[in-house]
């Protein structure tokens, strides 16, 4: 059955992967979902048709989706109201009549994309549908059936919206609408304990959806910080576990009522089953541990807003000083010094950890930064022989760089040969991107790309910025 996904106009690149993940979650198996767009629609258009096995699946998907507005059964579409009428009249009667009976209640919602209609215009649009034999009673609060009439603008001037070639009008029956209240509930401004890089609630919920969070599953965040990603996973019922190298953040927080635990208590969620102070570079997992996590979800430190740290002193690893000797009587309270943890190393450790500790079919969901011009390049992104990239969603952060949410699925078991192979692949990756991944502030490093002052030529440029900025423009 074909349904219309009516999306919100946000995080454009994340919308289809989210629906695909939710379909996977509710169908329980890998399915090749069929998508189509009506002619003349821009890839950033809010309308996408999807083929789903049943209305129930569509309802389940909408109930968890963050980026959907709703799912409709389309009765007709057209570029003008005349075309719409022809299309609705051609839609099979047996699919319409059950929802038009005299004993039912209904309402018609008029919605627009890229334009505004005043109340009179909306009423006029509704009255123009008089050729549909509605026999039920209009009820504005909690009607049995809701119909949507959605009109988009065809103007060239499109207030920052994607270029629309043509006006389009859609009419359909509502199957389900999404619940955006959850995004408000978890808003960071209401969060008890926050860190400087806490993950935005909407994105954290999206990450939990990508990770297929659900009751009975165990999810791990190796860079847990204040727990903002795990809160979203726990919202969907998953058990959570986190680690961080900074003990102050996870153990102490800002006091007994303002710490990672209190962030879960605040929403009445099951707290993490464990918080561990550990270094992702030298993880403390027993060697026989394998296939334990259903998902690993994280936002690794990549040195733009916060840099990573790992064990072993900075000077020691540079070789500029001799190994430390710590007196026996000082060992108890010794605070080990740490060294910078480069992005290449961090991601290598992360992929290897995921390959080892994820269950087969489990998912690794993480952010990876990219200079704007590298986002389309497949070679730019890290790979692992056990992990298959299933989604790469770009979020443009500035004119210079983006972060991409990568979703990978473990497809094969982790063997000694694979561990050796992974080291090789990783070495090639490092060789190809050495300057990009260095900690230095020199040309080419991500930090440099993000923070270096603009060249003069650019500053003097007078050409106006495009009003619409998107991946496909």
């Amino acid at each position: 059955m074909w349904f219309l996904c009516y999306f919100l106009h946000r995080l454009l690149d994340y919308r289809i992967p989210e629906i695909e993940s939710l379909a996977r979650l509710f169908l329980g198996e890998k399915v090749d979902l069929k998508w189509r767009q009506s002619p003349y629609h821009h890839p950033d258009s809010p309308f996408y048709f999807i083929d789903l096995p049943s209305e129930d699946v569509a309802r389940n998907i909408a109930s968890r989706s963050v980026l959907l507005k709703g799912i409709l059964e389309v009765w007709g579409e057209g570029r003008t109201y005349d075309e719409l009428r022809i299309s609705i009249e051609a839609y099979p009667e047996e699919k319409k009549t059950p929802y038009l009976t005299p004993d039912s209640t209904f309402k018609v919602v008029v919605d627009t994309f890229g334009k505004i209609l005043n109340l009179d215009e909306q009423t006029e649009r509704i009255h123009s549908l008089s050729y549909i034999p509605f026999q039920g009673v209009v009820k504005l609060k909690n009607p049995e059936h809701k119909f949507w009439l959605i009109e988009t603008d065809g103007n060239d001037f499109n207030n920052g919206l994607p270029p629309a070639d043509i006006r389009s009008i859609v009419f359909g029956r509502e199957i389900a609408v999404s619940d955006r209240k959850v995004v408000v509930k978890y808003e960071l401004s209401r969060r008890n304990y926050l860190g400087p890089t806490a993950m935005d609630a909407e994105v954290a919920l999206l990450m939990a959806n990508q990770a297929l969070a659900k009751p009975g599953k165990l999810m791990y965040d190796p860079f847990v910080g204040t727990g903002s990603i795990l809160v979203a996973a726990a919202h969907f019922g998953a058990m959570t576990m986190g680690a961080d190298i900074d003990i102050r953040v996870i153990r102490d927080g800002k006091g007994p009522d303002k710490n990672v635990w209190s962030n879960f208590k605040q929403y009445d969620l099951t707290p993490p089953v464990g918080l561990i102070r550990a270094d992702n570079n030298v993880p403390p997992w027993r060697s026989s541990l394998s296939e334990v996590f259903d998902a690993i979800v994280c936002d690794p430190p990549y040195g733009v807003r916060a840099g990573g740290r790992k064990s072993g002193g900075r000077k020691l690893l540079q070789g500029t000083r001799d190994p430390y000797i710590i007196d026996e009587n000082k060992r108890k309270d010794h605070i080990p010094s740490t060294a910078p943890y480069t992005l290449a190393e961090c991601v290598h450790d992360l992929l290897d950890l995921a390959a080892r500790l994820l269950v087969t079919g489990g998912r690794l969901v993480f952010f990876y930064p990219a200079p704007r011009d590298e986002c389309g390049e497949e070679d730019y992104f890290p790979k692992h022989p056990c992990l298959n990239l299933i989604a790469n969603s770009e979020q443009i952060l500035s004119t210079r760089y983006s972060r991409c949410l990568l979703t990978m699925e473990k497809t094969s078991r982790y063997t000694d040969e694979i561990a050796a192979e992974a080291r090789k692949v990783h070495q090639e990756f490092r060789d190809n991107h050495s300057e990009m991944l260095q900690e230095s502030r020199e040309n080419g490093s991500l930090h440099h790309i993000v923070f270096a002052p603009s060249s003069e030529a650019k500053l003097n440029g007078t050409e106006a910025r495009p009003r619409y900025r998107g991946k496909y423009v």
Partner: protein, 122 residues
């Protein structure tokens, strides 16, 4: 720290080969009520090192965890309750984990085990 976490951790000092299981030094235990979720228990059961779990349960004063187990026991609700309690409800709030090979003490404070190594242990 719950026993689930304990079951996953090892002493990872360079050169140590038998860092698992860490023995538990108890200073303060707490019981925190946790929602009972049989699906999660069944999911995690095959992934545990049972002997280490049994011994850890003993060291925190729980002697009703059987030494030998079989997956059919997961159908027994009484067993599941005991398993749930030992795995997820008993917390080591203050204490330490001790490496069986080197005797290195990894402190546990406010329920968080500190597994970070010193510079000369990496």
């Amino acid at each position: 720290m719950r026993l689930l976490t304990h079951n996953m951790l090892t002493c990872n000092i360079k050169g140590v080969t038998k860092g698992f299981p860490l023995s538990i030094e108890v200073q303060k235990l707490e019981t925190k009520e946790t929602d009972f979720n049989p699906d999660f228990l069944k999911n995690i059961f095959p992934k545990l090192e049972w002997k280490a779990f049994h011994d850890a349960a003993l060291s925190v004063g729980l002697n009703d965890i059987p030494e030998q187990v079989d997956p059919v026991m997961l159908e027994d609700s009484e067993f599941l309750q005991k398993f749930h309690h030992a795995l997820l409800e008993v917390h080591l709030e203050e204490g330490a984990l001790i490496c069986p090979e080197t005797g290195r003490r990894f402190p546990v404070s406010k329920g968080v085990p500190n597994m970070l190594l010193h510079e000369d242990e990496v």
